[in-house]
Symmetry: none
Subunit: 193 residues, 4 copies
DNA sequence: CATGAATGAGAGTTCATTCAT
DNA sequence: GATGAATGAACTCTCATTCAT
């Protein structure tokens, strides 16, 4: 597969991403992707065998980018509270964005692939989030910004809440006010006023 | 509708519930339901037009039952901490049970029906949960069991965490230990030692 | 499946037989059969899952009919030579008929299903033929019509020759004269002039 | 066509032969051949337009080689019985060999090309066989080895039997014992004890 | 009311064949 | 000559939905 096909492959991934963001995972057929990409039925099969494979590849790509962002923040010279605030602001933005998100597609995908070890991706992402937050909280305690008796529990709490908000946003809806209130609740639980 | 019809309708709902619990929502076809119920294809259409409608009806039934249970607990003569512990234990049980749960079906259903006002069901359930927990926490504060500066935030926190755990359980898996640790974290944040 | 569907099933088998006779086995698709039968795509699948299954069922039907014919001849009151001549005449007729024969379909089918025990059908048919012919030759010897030192070998010889002629007819062609000459050769080898 | 082209052409033929031997004719696609040969899709089309054409060319090559072998035997200084025995032994070997044989491919090919004059190849091969055997039997009669009233009929008989065995081997299977018994039957019918 | 046969739309997948490079 | 990406036709199979009985 030469240079040209790498371009096309990328084009398929990019276009499919939009399709998945729009329709979730279960509703996306190879035909949908073919039509969105403006290529031929057989052409798609030269690159991918199934929507599963395409989504998985998209997720792998995004995972790399996300990891970069994640660790990027930590290396800043801000205070722990600043970093945490920034992180939560990011999450809030992602949470509230309506159309460009793969959230539903990801959930649907992993509902259908619960047992495979592919799902270690989600687990890893969660565990990584907990670990980073734990470190951050501990750093904040060291600098006297935060008070917390159980940093690991607090970190997990944040991750669960974010996950809960994400799913709520996609099923019964969530308002910016609701998000803000909960994030404020979390910050206030940590910060020493 | 005669008595017999009502029976048959109920039979379809009961059987379909098992099907949805097993296969989620998106994977369930009218054919699946017909086969599980042991009725004729045409027969099913006399009662329901789509899996959507069937699941919705099942959820309405369950909602009534659940409300009963919910308020049932509150009327007990236990302490607030006891009631909260009991409530969380219930939630934990539901969380960890593998096969009899409609969790995935519900999520998949509401992914597909985000915009309709039908989803007010989920919202109502969530809001009701928050309200009950808020009352409970305030009651605990009044009796001196709990300390909490923001009962509403704490209540919402619990609901988000439960939601987050539920989705995590269904996608990347969750262990009993993880649940226990987080529930302990939550209780310790409230209880005055 | 009620009476009506049995009729339809039979109609499919009858029509498919013509299709197989015309196009062999490998060239026949479900689509061909659907079109020949004048039914819907999905309709065919209510009765059969694949061309394999259809052909196999046709062959089973034919096998029963053939068996009847076979044993029917033996029970006649003719001489052994008469019966053998009649049998060979039958075979010749089948051999030379162009369009109504499943020969090619059967060969193609069993090329593709060599290893299964389904092919015991062909083997049984062959073995049965040998046995009947052997009995017939022995009967002829007993009545003084035939002379033969190795009835079993002669019987097998006839079956192999018939098989050889059949395949030759379907691949490089065979003339009535060629068939007659070989059948005469065979008869002359048996009959005491 | 340069030397290199001729080499490539030959490489395609040699490789395709293995493919046909393994999968018959009907199951072989241009794709199969391309993959087996390790050449490009377009590259194959520079030399051949279809599997038909490739197989036909293979058969032409083999025919030349076979003819050489055939006449080679006759020119030996052995007795007629020796030559016939040798010939039958060859045939038996070919008959019983499982994997390297084009038998099925050839049959499938000629099922699909019954009406063209291309099939004169099979006919010529058959007729040549009959003629050689006839000559051989007559030679045996002349030397007093054989007794036979109808050499042409006997020769045709042998060819039909071989054909019948070949097809039986490929469809319902044949054992070495069965082959030996029939070949013995044939020899005993000729030889003067 | 109830049945289940029948329909036809639509998804998936594979390949022969072409053509720009 | 040679490549292999691209196309589109063809086939398989499954269901939602209807309708005569």
């Amino acid at each position: 597969m030469g240079e040209k096909s790498a371009q096309k492959r990328q084009h398929i991934l990019d276009t499919s991403r939009r399709v998945f963001a729009e329709k979730g995972f279960k509703n996306v057929t190879m035909k949908d992707i073919v039509e969105a990409c403006g290529i031929s039925r057989g052409g798609l099969y030269l690159y991918f065998d199934s929507p599963d494979q395409i989504l998985l590849e998209i997720l792998h790509m995004e995972a790399e980018e996300t990891d970069d962002l994640f660790t990027g923040h930590i290396s800043e010279e801000d205070t722990a509270a600043d970093i945490l605030t920034l992180f939560l602001k990011e999450q809030k933005k992602e949470l509230l964005q309506e159309n460009d998100s793969l959230t539903v597609a990801v959930y649907e995908y992993f509902f259908a692939h619960k047992s495979t070890d592919k799902n270690s991706m989600l687990r890893r992402r969660f565990d990584a989030g907990v670990k980073v937050l734990e470190k951050l909280i501990e750093a904040g305690i060291a600098t006297g910004e935060f008070y917390c008796e159980n940093p690991k529990g607090a970190a997990a709490n944040i991750m669960y809440v974010l996950e809960g908000m994400k799913i709520k946003a996609q099923t019964s809806g969530i308002t910016e006010k609701m998000v803000d209130e909960q994030l404020t609740y979390i910050m206030e639980g940590l910060i020493i006023e």
